[in-house]
């Protein structure tokens, strides 16, 4: 019965039999694969826990990466990196206000059309060449005069007339109209990054295909981009000579996780040191974890229900199949008053949001507006019912009002994002509250793309909508102007919800030339008042940005003091990544995890070995 190991291969075998040893080989290979994979657990696990306690900061990327070309990048994941490796004229300080960066000081002419910036001298690009005003002028001019270079940031220089650099430390920008938001045009992450002319002049000819992925990338900022593994992570190295102070960590790894639960798992296991954009559910689940500190910060985002006020082109041509009832502002106001926003904050966001009213989110307090009590459209279903009855919407059968114009029941469609858990949670509440005022809501869950297609075609009644803004409110306000309505059906404009109001447009023009912040804020407040009373965007709430850090890996990541609700001020990645400080490591790899790894290895060896022995036993007869 005992036969040498290799006997089988020497055994004369028929065609049929040959397949059996083949299968055995596959079997062995499979076991080997599984075995090696499990064995692999050991060395890398210790490596990762040692790494996170060194001076490497590991954070989650906001989106996956597509390009590091600052002229083309649209996605936050790319922009966060670009904002940290290229300089800008100004930056945004911890108070959310513009502050010096490349520009040390600036002045504006009496006619408000000429800006003169003094550029910091003595700074050098990472390849040793000096940074001058000419680099800035070259960058702006390229965006102004080259359509490809304008891909990402063209809107920011649309009002620029000329940009010149009379000498190495002076930059002169003239604008066509006064531009109150000049100090927001070139900010880290949200604004225009300035690139080294001597590097980029060579790339202009093929700018549309240039991805800027030759490492290290020549730039200037708190970090230098030194490594990139496509679709996994970017590696940044601290610039020890950064004039605002070198980052405290030596290396920064920004890794993308396509699944947010995977990112949470990575944080819990120490694979990541910090993550943002947690859902309220994930945030609550992390509350008991002693290895994790939680940071809710006030939001730069609002979530709203848009009410279709009648889709039309700039020339007034109507289109789309929106409900005619919503053309009446009273109906829209009644809808706003029927919604209990505080209840949504409590039920949908576990209190980790602020109930909404004004159009500007709370992240930048200088622009915040809240309605005076006399104008409030706060939760009042009784009054909402009265308003509707007065407007001629009589109660019909089944508790649904009848539209006096169409004589049909008042049924409105509500489009929600199928990929947003909070939308799905919110919809039944809205349905119930609107039923209480005699409006039947037909909830339609659709993909972001479907929503995006329906929106410009005007084929909707109510849509869930969400916008976020940087420190400069101009763009968020502009999407409510008449000028952003579509010019024709084939040319959808940027309009958010087909809102168009002459007074609003007048104030929009006015604020864009108000250089005094308080004055401008006052005008923007009036604009928000108009939006609020028209109830086209019913702002439901401002959800907090929910972040989490491993205090064992980094401290001082977040800045500022919490407010009465326990929320931190709006955070700025440009500051966070530099201010984060390594914490001396405590225990290395925990013994329990090593124990488990050993158990897994033993299990695989036993199972695999057992399988092989069993196999040989059952084939013993054959080998005889």
């Amino acid at each position: 019965m005992k036969i040498s190991r290799f006997a089988r291969s020497g055994h004369p075998s028929g065609q049929r039999r040959r397949r059996v040893p083949g299968l055995a080989a596959v079997f062995a290979l499979g076991i080997a694969t599984a075995g090696i994979a499990a064995l692999a657990a050991a060395p890398a696990a210790t490596a990762s826990s040692a790494g996170s306690s060194g001076s490497t900061l590991r954070v989650e990327a906001d989106t996956s990466y597509s390009t590091f070309n600052p002229f083309l990048a649209y996605f936050n994941g790319d922009l966060n990196i670009i904002g940290n490796i290229y300089p800008t004229l100004t930056t945004i300080n911890q108070q959310g206000q513009p502050a010096p960066y490349l520009a040390t000081k600036w002045s504006v002419s009496a006619n408000k059309l000429t800006w003169t910036f003094t550029i910091r001298s003595g700074l050098k690009w990472s390849d040793g060449k000096p940074i001058t005003a000419a680099d800035a002028a070259w960058t702006f001019n390229l965006i102004m005069h080259n359509s490809v270079a304008a891909t990402a940031n063209g809107a920011l220089v649309a009002n620029f007339a000329t940009v010149t650099a009379p000498n190495a430390t002076t930059l002169v920008i003239t604008t066509k109209q006064p531009e109150a938001n000049m100090l927001y045009v070139s900010n880290p992450i949200t604004g225009i990054p300035i690139v080294p002319e001597h590097i980029w002049a060579k790339q202009v000819a093929h700018l549309s295909t240039f991805k800027n992925q030759t490492m290290p990338v020549v730039g200037y900022g708190p970090w230098t981009l030194t490594g990139y593994v496509p679709n996994q992570y970017a590696t940044l190295t601290a610039n020890s000579s950064f004039f605002m102070g070198a980052p405290k960590f030596h290396t920064l790894i920004v890794q993308y996780f396509s699944d947010s639960d995977a990112a949470v798992a990575a944080l819990k296991s120490g694979q990541l040191d910090e993550i943002d954009d947690l859902t309220a559910t994930q945030f609550e689940a992390l509350k008991g974890d002693k290895d994790i500190d939680l940071y809710p910060s006030v939001s730069n985002t609002w979530t709203a229900i848009e009410l279709n006020p009648g889709a039309r082109t700039q020339s007034g041509k109507k289109f789309g199949n929106g409900s005619s009832a919503l053309l009446d502002p009273v109906v829209r106001q009644a809808i706003e008053m029927a919604i209990n926003k505080q209840e949504l904050v409590t039920k949908v966001w576990d209190g980790l949001a602020v109930a909404g009213s004004g159009y500007m989110p709370p992240a930048y307090p200088q622009w915040v507006w809240t309605p005076p009590a006399s104008e409030s459209l706060g939760y009042d279903p009784a009054k909402a019912n009265q308003l509707l009855t007065k407007a001629g919407f009589k109660m019909g059968p089944g508790g649904v009002r009848i539209d006096p114009k169409t004589h049909k029941p008042l049924v409105l469609r509500l489009g929600i994002h199928s990929d947003e858990a909070s939308d799905a949670e919110m919809a039944p509440y809205l349905q119930e509250w609107l039923k209480a005022i005699g409006i039947q809501v037909d909830v339609q869950s659709m993909s972001f793309n479907q929503l995006n297609t329906d929106l410009p075609e005007g084929d909707w009644d109510m849509l869930s909508d969400s916008w976020s803004t940087g420190p400069d409110p101009t763009y968020l306000l502009s999407i409510q102007t008449c000028g952003d309505l579509p010019t024709s059906l084939s040319q959808p404009g940027n309009t958010d919800s087909f809102f168009c109001n002459a007074d609003f447009d007048k104030l929009f023009a006015q604020q864009s030339s108000e250089f005094n912040v308080a004055q401008r804020a006052n005008t923007i407040g009036q604009m928000q008042q108009i939006l609020y009373s028209n109830a086209v965007d019913v702002i439901l709430y401002y959800p907090d940005n929910l972040s989490a850090v491993r205090p064992g890996a980094a401290k001082d990541f977040f800045y500022g003091k919490t407010n009465a609700q326990g929320f931190y001020p709006q955070q700025n990645l440009f500051i966070n990544w530099s201010s984060a400080t390594p914490v001396a490591s405590d225990a290395p790899a925990s013994s329990s995890s090593t124990l488990w790894i050993v158990i897994v290895i033993i299990a695989v060896v036993v199972l695999g070995g057992g399988g092989l022995i069993y196999w040989r036993r059952t084939t013993a007869g054959q080998r005889e």
Binding site: R17, V26, G30, A158, Q232, I253, Q450
Partner: protein
């Protein structure tokens, strides 16, 4: 029944002729299968294009989402992406791009689709290859064991387990394994990484450390795929073995005095293997396209994850490119199964 011609030639020549005719038969068989494959592929091109053209989309809005943009910028982008072209012209571009093999230009990555696919195909092959090997081995082995003695405890446990895992949604199982083994759950510490293909910052290259690191990242996505696919192999193998159980040739084998294990191994299993081979090859094609959810859960930088990224915009050239690879792999493995079957089963040869 021999014709007058064959009656005249010698026996040797008859054998030669038979071999030649078998070769010819195979050539005919192969070319017929190839033609079918090519026709299916062409049909797929059309269907794929029509399907993706029907997806509600506003790629310009999705790409610029939330960024300040002027009407001029949007118009430029629309033109640059070719969205202003009539449908027939876009179809012509699409077919041209497919035939020349460059597959067009991705809107979000600003890179040729072929380059992106070439970059991502290896991680997917690694994942699908290892998962297929492991699940085939486990599935076949369990199938043989449970089929040979149906109704035993092993059979009931194995069949129950297979069906349970087979019916689980892949992404859900992926998330469960992730919670269990990658984040630490109760007494179970985080054993495996939660995502990616290697530890960030660790040096790459063909060093043992890097290989082990990649394998460690491979465990959970591979395990997820194995658990949801091995059941099919187990079920098919089991039922084929059960089918053979009453066959007279097994009785003959036993009558010759062969041990039970030998009867199983030398007589029953080889005959029962045929349906499984078909299933395995058909399945490989499907597994390649089925990795979309697994790769997305584990941020595994392969083709499935690329397809997911394409769908979010939707980045049509990229979506069409990945769709093409997925469907081509199904067609290809169908073809392989057809051809292989001819060699494995003499009855197919005779037909």
């Amino acid at each position: 029944m021999a014709s007058p011609v064959t009656a005249q030639v010698a026996a040797e020549t008859v054998r030669d002729l038979r071999a030649a005719s078998a070769g010819r038969d195979f050539a005919v068989y192969l070319s017929r299968k190839l033609a079918t494959a090519i026709v299916s592929f062409a049909a797929l091109l059309v269907v794929g294009f029509i399907l993706f053209s029907l997806i509600p989309s506003n790629p310009v809005a999705a790409l610029t989402r939330g960024r300040p943009t002027t009407a001029k910028q949007l118009a430029f982008l629309t033109k640059q992406l070719g969205l202003n072209l009539p449908v027939w012209e876009r179809f012509a571009h699409f077919v041209g791009n497919t035939v020349t093999g460059n597959l067009g230009y991705s809107w979000q990555f600003q890179e040729p689709v072929a380059t992106l696919i070439a970059q991502r195909v290896w991680p997917t092959l690694l994942l699908v290859g290892s998962a297929t090997i492991v699940s085939v081995v486990i599935g076949m082995w369990l199938g043989i064991r449970s089929g040979w003695r149906p109704g035993t405890l092993l059979d009931r446990v194995a069949t129950g387990t297979s069906i349970t895992f087979w019916s689980m949604p892949t992404f859900w199982l992926g998330i469960m394994l992730l919670v269990l083994f990658a984040s630490g759950f109760g007494p179970i510490p985080a054993i495996f990484p939660a995502g990616g293909m290697s530890t960030p910052g660790a040096p790459g290259g063909l060093t043992p450390d890097h290989i082990l690191d990649v394998l460690r990242h491979l465990v959970l996505p591979c395990l997820t795929l194995v658990l949801v696919t091995f059941g099919q192999y187990q079920m098919v193998m089991r039922s084929s073995v059960v089918d053979e159980l009453g066959s007279p040739y097994l009785l003959t084998a036993r009558a010759k005095g062969l041990r039970d294990a030998e009867v199983e191994r030398r007589h029953a299993v080889p005959n029962a293997l045929l349906p499984s081979v078909t299933v395995i090859f058909l399945q490989i094609g499907l597994v390649i396209s089925g990795v979309v959810t697994v790769e997305t859960v584990y941020s595994w930088p392969g083709l499935g994850y690329l397809a997911y990224q394409a769908l979010q915009i939707p980045d049509l050239p990229l979506l069409e490119g990945t769709f093409l690879v997925f469907s081509a792999s199904v067609i290809f493995f169908n073809l392989v199964a057809d051809v292989l079957y001819r060699f494995l089963d003499p009855r197919v040869r005779r037909q």
